[in-house]
Amino acid sequence: MQSFFQEAVIPHFNFWIYVIIMMVGLWSVIAKNNLIKKLIGLSIFQTAILLLYVSLGVKEGATIPVLDHHALIESSHSESSEGSGKKAIAINPDHYANPLPHVLMLTAIVVGVATLGVALALTQMIYKDFGTIEEDEVLKKIKALHDDV
């Protein structure tokens, strides 16, 4: 048990966390009856994936990927002190977190917000038409509807 923790859980804890959060969201989408609670579950579900991506970009001891003058000088110093002999300014990618997953997630966040906006608008329309946002009551009222296509 302990070795399982040390080999599979602790080194990969970001995966465990994202899977657990994602399943919480999915459970809420499936099991909850209230449409708003379903949407909250959906947001949790999406956010779990954002967390996975963000955790991919993290490096131990790295800083934010903004290149300032100071960092450039520092890295060139470290290069020359290692004895490579080159004067060229080098940027060591290990010093910076990977920005690409974060940038991707900005897009995914926008998509998520837009989805939530559309979903809330739909919920509002359903409430206006049916007077309720409990799914079972909505479905019951739909069965009583005449065809109105």
């Binding site: 379903k38 996975l52 998509v111 979903a119 359903i126 479905l139 296509v149």
Partner: protein
């Protein structure tokens, strides 16, 4: 200028949507010319791309000149698999746009500009999914498509449409999230999002390509895409969403959204994971083909049980998605199954377009929602009925139409790969389609009108009362007839189209499997 055609396909509808958003709200008459000209530009660019691909091979386009792997360059790539689909998307969208003109006096006419903005954004998403060569962009464009389609489903008067749109939204978002997760795993292992890059890395490193993380990524991507294309156990959202949406929306959603998702699956198989690798794992192929057989059987059975026209057509879409998924996974060495799938994507988009245009006409100008309401159809609207018959014959698979040829290639793939159950399922499903449509034709030809159901009036030649011609207005009739004519044309010219697709598929598979 011609260098920029790949971007132009996307940008024309995007700017069209902007123009309608700016000016269409004040004057509704702006909408239609803008939509038609934007889609016309896309169609022109798409046809030019087909020509340049057929003469000079795949066309690569780097947005703003940022090439991989310098920045996060966005690559568009037009090749033999996707350019025909671009043309078909533009045509179907044009037909649906003309079909959905609303006279200003009609109810709902204040929604016209909103409808067309969503419509054009949907087209942007569909074109984008088809032409992009970047796995993450596919996700973004899938969501652009999906968000506009939720709006298009809910825009009508129907109360059920709103609930259907909500369920569609939940399923669609979960599906897209699974796709995103799969892309995340790919990025985690390979550090690239560009499809060609991914394929190159996977082709050069067998241990990595067979690792558990890559397989998990592939499964996540497949499940996400299957949700989007309504592959059988994941089809729950489709029948309600398409049958309770307004006719104009259904005329573009039903033909295109599921087909473009099938295209994404084909693209992932051919130019991301690689056909050789998929065929090395034979049991995967067998498993998916069995799923497809179940989907075909379930779709056909559900279609038999429906009494409403649009619901029946929706169930047919589910069966057709089964044909395409099964065909793509047959794995015959000559690629006939895969070629048949790509050709069937084109054919099915046109067939579904034709049938949903006809169903829209029947619903709007005849008030016919159920099969029984169609009695006397051939007397009331002979031309629209003729269009519907051509669409029905194409779905059944009668020779001069494209439906026959696509099934022919799919069955050829099934025979060459020895998947006899798939062949049987396909033929049985064609029989079911024949039963379904001839039942409708019978009602439409010989069905009695409710008013004179009691008595002596036998059939159509007995002119006991003046027949009222209810032919729909031209803006609705012309798209239907054009779609019907295209079904026959695509069937007659299947040889060059299929040869174009097949050589493209074999080249794409061969180029990358040798590594870059």
């Amino acid at each position: 200028m011609s260098d920029h055609y790949p971007a132009l396909v996307l940008l024309a509808p995007l700017f069209g949507a902007l123009v309608i958003g700016l000016f269409g709200l004040r004057d509704h008459r702006v909408c239609l010319p803008v939509v038609v000209s934007a889609l016309g530009v896309s169609l022109f660019a798409a046809i030019s791309l087909v020509l340049s691909v057929s003469s000079g091979g795949p066309v690569d386009y780097f947005v703003a000149g940022w090439k991989e792997p310098i920045g996060i360059g966005i690559q568009l790539r037009a090749d033999a698999i996707n350019t025909p689909l671009l043309v078909v998307i533009a045509i179907v969208a044009l037909l649906a746009a003309i079909f959905s003109i609303r006279p200003a006096a009609e109810r709902d006419s204040e929604k016209t500009p909103y409808f067309y903005v969503l419509f054009l954004l949907l087209c942007v998403g569909l074109f984008g999914i088809t032409i992009t060569a970047d796995a993450f962009n596919v996700f973004v464009l899938i969501e652009v498509t999906a968000l506009s389609s939720y709006g298009l489903v809910a825009i009508g008067q129907s109360k059920r449409g709103k609930v259907a749109a909500f369920h569609y939204l939940i399923m669609g978002t979960v599906g897209a999230s699974f796709y995103l997760l799969g892309v995340g795993y790919l990025y985690l292992k390979l550090g690239s999002l560009n499809m060609q890059d991914i394929h190159g890395i996977l082709a050069s490193d067998d241990a990595l390509a067979d690792s558990r993380a890559i397989r998990t990524a592939f499964v996540f991507i497949l499940v996400g895409i299957w949700t989007k294309m309504a592959f059988f156990p994941l089809h729950g959202w489709l029948p309600n969403a398409y049958s309770y949406s307004p006719s104009g929306s259904a005329a573009i959603l039903a033909p295109l959204v599921t087909k473009v998702s099938v295209y994404v699956m084909v693209r992932m198989m051919v130019s991301v994971f690689g056909l050789d690798r998929l065929e090395a794992n034979v049991e995967w192929g067998h498993f998916v083909v069995w799923l497809a057989i179940i989907a075909i059987a379930a779709g056909s059975t559900m279609a038999l049980a429906q009494r409403e026209i649009k619901k029946m057509l929706c169930c047919l879409i589910i069966a057709e998605v089964g044909y395409m998924v099964g065909g793509a996974w047959l794995g015959d060495p000559q690629r006939w199954g895969l070629t048949g799938t790509v050709y069937h994507i084109l054919a099915d988009a046109l067939m579904t377009s034709c049938l949903f245009l006809a169903a829209g006409i029947f619903a709007k100008w005849l008030g016919a929602l159920k099969l029984e309401d169609l009695s006397g159809l051939f007397r009331k609207m002979p031309l629209a009925a003729a269009g519907f018959v051509v669409g029905g014959l194409a779905i059944i698979g009668v020779p001069p139409t494209c439906g026959f040829y696509s099934k022919f290639y799919l069955i050829r793939g099934g025979i060459e790969s020895g998947q006899w159950t798939y062949v049987v399922a396909l033929l049985a499903s064609s029989l079911v389609n024949a039963v379904l449509f001839f039942r409708i034709f019978e009602i439409a030809y010989f069905g009695k009108k409710p008013a004179d159901s009691h008595g002596d009036d036998h059939g159509h030649d007995h002119e006991s009362e003046p027949v009222v011609r209810l032919e729909p207005p031209l803006h609705a009739l012309i798209p239907l007839l054009v779609a019907a004519a295209l079904l026959v044309l695509l069937g007659l010219f299947n040889g060059p189209v299929v040869e174009f697709i097949r050589t493209g598929l074999i080249e794409t598979a061969a180029v990358v499997s040798t590594g870059r």
